[in-house]
């Protein structure tokens, strides 16, 4: 678990268009530049918003990733709600 690295990846991939384009072209090799676990790489490569949310990614970063991935707001919120339910968390 390396929440800092997960968040750093999102900050760079969403904030720097050139890095974001690199990620879009070849996500697997782009992710090798970060100290991530296999689970974290999979969640990022597949834009698994719910899993990233439960990992503790800051919501502002998470929403930026969703916007970059063209995940619309209702689907984004639904993913978080499903994650909360799966984790037994009250909203």
């Amino acid at each position: 678990m390396s929440l800092y690295q997960v968040q750093k990846f999102i900050f760079e991939a969403t904030g720097d268009r050139r890095l974001g384009d690199l990620f879009d072209r070849d996500p697997e090799s782009f992710l090798t530049g970060y100290a991530l676990t296999a689970r974290e790489k999979t969640a990022l490569a597949h834009l698994d918003i719910g899993t990233l949310y439960l990992m503790g990614v800051h919501p502002h970063l998470l929403l930026s990733l969703a916007v970059k991935g063209k995940i619309h707001w209702p689907d984004y919120i639904a993913a978080l709600q499903r994650a909360d339910e799966a984790a037994g968390r009250e909203v």
Binding site: Y4, Q7, K8, F11, G15, H58, P59, H60, L61, L62, L63, S64, V67, Y76, I77, L80, Q81, D84, V91
Partner: protein, 277 residues
């Protein structure tokens, strides 16, 4: 000369991006209050506006997160968000490097600031500027307070930041105003988005309007998170404005929960000639 204008307001992206999703009964008084604030700002005939705002991972990350950062550039770009989301077209906002350096040098006599000549603006700055200075000809000096992740500067330090701003500008010839941008309670980008804690907002607003320093500096991060949500941490921008007013009171132009904007619509303007009791 002393600050000639002080105010604080929300900046939630829904204010411009989802303007017409709010019912007319909420939308009209809120935008009327913003228009009233614009009239007061125009009447102040400012040479520059200091905007104290919260960053949203637009400029800063946890690799080097400043508690306070002042912009020293001659121009800024914004917003970083797409125009389809924010309904604000990309534009250039004028800065004033010479004035910003003078303000920074004065403030650094009392507080530690980082500075940057590369800042870009997100909704935290662009939403209020879009509504208050739409022609983008008034030079802006941005000051960002870390409201995102802990450890953050405590409320008392934010109040001192404002005091330092007031002292730093007092000896300058320009007509300078200050605008705080952020808060109050809100839960951005989480399932609770749209929730507003009106009672907590009203309590904070009462302390702000009275410029009750003792109450303002008593706010703690865990209490803010629990009652005001993560977005509530942005009350730091208002607390800094209260510090900049050195005990002067403010007038509420509006407080009205607007769930469609995911925030309690709140705008206040300082009575710079009236001291708190």
């Amino acid at each position: 000369m002393p600050l000639v204008f002080a105010a604080a307001a929300n900046h939630a992206p829904g204010i411009t991006g989802r303007r017409y999703r709010a019912p007319e009964a909420e939308r009209e008084p809120f935008f009327a209050a913003y228009a009233e604030l614009k009239r007061k700002l125009d009447a102040a005939r400012l040479d520059a506006l200091v905007v104290i705002a919260a960053d949203h991972f637009t400029n800063f990350f946890m690799n080097n997160m400043p508690a306070f950062c002042i912009g020293l550039a001659d121009r800024y770009r914004g917003p970083v968000e797409s125009s389809s989301l924010l309904k604000i077209e990309p534009t250039e906002v004028p800065g004033d490097q010479r004035l910003a350096r003078a303000i920074a040098a004065g403030m650094m006599q009392e507080v530690d600031l980082s500075y940057s000549e590369e800042l870009v603006f997100d909704h935290g700055v662009m939403v209020p500027l879009h509504l208050l200075t739409p022609d983008m000809i008034l030079p802006v000096v941005p000051i960002f307070i870390n409201c995102l992740t802990g450890p953050r500067a405590p409320a008392a330090r934010c109040y001192e930041l404002g005091r330092a701003l007031r002292r730093a500008t007092a000896g300058l010839p320009e007509r300078i105003g200050v605008l705080g941008s952020g808060g109050l309670s809100h839960w951005p980008a989480v399932p609770a988005s749209g929730r507003v804690n009106a009672a907590w907002d009203e309590e904070f607003l009462d302390a702000f309007l009275k410029n009750d320093r003792e109450r303002l500096v008593a706010y703690r991060d865990d209490e803010i998170d629990a009652a005001g949500g993560p977005g509530g941490q942005e009350i730091r921008t208002w607390i800094a404005v209260a510090g900049a007013m050195e005990g002067r009171t403010s007038e509420k132009l509006i407080y009205l929960p607007i769930p469609a904007y995911a925030v309690g619509g709140c705008i206040a303007v300082g009575n710079l000639e009236k001291r708190a009791a």
